[in-house]
């Protein structure tokens, strides 16, 4: 054995560990997408808490980089579902929210946790399922009727089960029918986002409720078809809410306002309204900023 001290190979191992550690110092800084043209804001980091539908449909992949480029903010997008996003807002752990559960949002605003709740866009929920349609909901004229048929047929139904805006809508429909699906053998709760839930429904050939944007974006990979749509109760409305800086002084309220202004500006609205046309042949969202909510259909 070599009398050199320490052994050559041992030193090589130490060099490897050291170089890995040093490389962390250079690559551990975030790859900044802030452009050099707009002035870099005083507090560039902005935490956006949003739904999984805006991420799984791919909208955020276009909207956020455009916003970052235009304003110089570095957005930390945390797509967790409306329920968790609202909780993060209540705890001051996010600066701005992009959510779609009007009843929960109202409770949030009533609690004084948010300022400036602005209408952004809307699309529609769909009730999707296997093309064989064992519960025969294809003939249902309303969402309530469809759910009643699913319960009556004890057909597999996959729920989000994660406190999201989609789940809020789903539970409202069950409630309207005075049905309690929880605990029943045919009712599955995935606890995951919209994309994952659609996959489960597809694999189990069951029914689920989804927003049309995520369904269209993922449709080619799924064995599900849209069975019930167009019911006015299936309207899916998105709002942007800035977290109240009076309750949480550490919140980046300037950045939150910049984001809210951007998504409701004509640039942002054009982007949202045009999203999906090139890739899927149809718009996935309808841009609504400034409109009267009661006029939406």
């Amino acid at each position: 054995m070599s009398s050199k001290f320490p052994p050559r190979r041992f030193r090589a191992a130490l060099c490897l560990v050291a170089s890995l550690a040093l490389s962390a110092c250079s690559t551990a800084t975030p790859a900044s997408t802030a452009a050099s043209t707009p002035p870099v804001p005083a507090t560039p980091a902005l935490i956006l808490a949003t739904t999984t539908s805006t991420q799984d449909s791919g909208l955020l992949d276009e909207l956020v980089p455009a916003f970052q480029k235009a304003t110089g903010y570095v957005v930390k997008t945390v797509a967790v579902g409306t329920g968790q996003a609202l909780t993060m807002g209540q705890q001051g752990n996010a600066d701005v929210l992009l959510v779609h559960a009007p009843s929960s949002e109202k409770t949030f605003m009533d609690g004084g946790f948010g300022v400036d709740r602005l209408l952004v866009a809307h699309n529609y929920f769909l009730i999707v399922g296997p093309s064989s349609d064992p519960a025969g909901i294809g003939s249902a004229k309303t969402a309530n009727e469809a759910f009643a048929k699913i319960a009556a047929a004890k057909a597999t139904f996959v729920s989000r089960g994660d406190g999201s805006g989609t789940e809020t809508k789903e539970l409202a429909i069950w409630k309207a029918n005075s049905i309690t699906p929880k605990g029943q053998a045919w009712y599955i709760q995935s606890g995951q986002g919209m994309g994952a839930t659609l996959q489960i429904a597809s694999e189990k050939q069951g029914y689920t409720i989804t927003d049309n944007a995520t369904f269209i974006a993922n449709g080619s990979k799924l064995q599900l078809t849209s069975l019930v749509q167009g019911d006015p109760s299936l309207l899916n409305i998105y709002h942007v809410i800035s977290v109240n800086p009076t309750k949480w002084p550490k919140v980046n309220s300037v950045g939150a306002k910049a984001f809210a202004d951007y998504v409701t500006s004509s640039t942002g609205q054009d982007l949202i309204g045009g999203f999906g046309k090139a890739k899927y042949g149809q718009a996935l969202f309808v841009a609504d900023a400034g409109k009267n909510e009661a006029d939406l259909k």
Binding site: L20, A24, K76, G195
Partner: protein, 214 residues
């Protein structure tokens, strides 16, 4: 869409730094634990070994609770940064390196330490020679520590947020691709991760086996 090279380098550097930290903390403490004799030693060893079974997502949750703005360390603004992932992964890897180092040193013939001291070795020289003697186990401890963090996803997701271009590492990117149904990309990323781990462990194993020829 995501820059594959950037994600791979970020994974490597974050896990590499976390492993280095765990080595700096775990190896000396593990050696002390193996060589000292004190009454609660058995209890301490049990706690350390339980730490090896600590679920990464729980470690991530605890650190997130501290780093969130609503938490005690919120003012540091570390949430959703690569630094937060390094901290969480160091917490996960340290018990592994500590416990396995203690086992590796504890396994040495106790007469070796006596002999070294009899030959006039200082405390540091004794420790160095003991480390040389136990290098098979110590390098295994290092590989185990690295393995435990390069492949974990729960903590990286919780404290990092899987943000594109900032905190998306190989494991969290795989989870995202799976949830979107991009299984092909997910498997590719998995392949890259395994190749990475193979390369790092290849070098460490080569270093470990150097003594075997003699």
């Amino acid at each position: 869409m995501d820059d594959l090279v950037q994600i791979t380098l970020l994974s490597l550097s974050v896990s590499g730094l976390a492993t280095a930290i765990s080595l700096l903390i775990g190896l000396p403490l593990g050696t002390m634990l193996a060589l000292s004799v004190f009454r609660t030693r058995g209890l301490v060893l049990s706690v350390v070994n339980t730490g090896m079974a600590l679920p990464p997502v729980v470690a991530g949750l605890v650190i997130a609770l501290m780093l969130w703005r609503s938490g005690p360390l919120g003012g540091l603004n570390l949430i959703y940064t690569p630094t937060a992932i390094v901290v969480a992964e160091a917490v996960i890897a340290t018990p592994v390196v500590l416990g396995l180092s203690a086992a590796g040193i504890g396994q040495l013939d106790p007469r070796l330490q006596v002999q070294l001291q009899g030959l006039g070795a200082s405390r540091y020289q004794t420790v160095w020679w003991l480390w040389r003697e136990a290098r098979l186990s110590l390098l295994a401890a290092l590989m185990a520590g690295f393995g435990s963090v390069i492949s974990e996803v729960g903590a990286a997701m919780m404290v990092g947020g899987n943000i594109s271009g900032q905190t998306r590492v190989l494991t969290t990117a795989i989870v995202l691709d799976v949830s979107r149904g991009d299984f092909g990309t997910a498997i590719e990323l998995g392949g890259i991760l395994l190749a990475l781990a193979f390369m790092v462990n290849g070098v460490l194993t080569w270093a470990q086996q150097s003594g075997r020829r003699g």
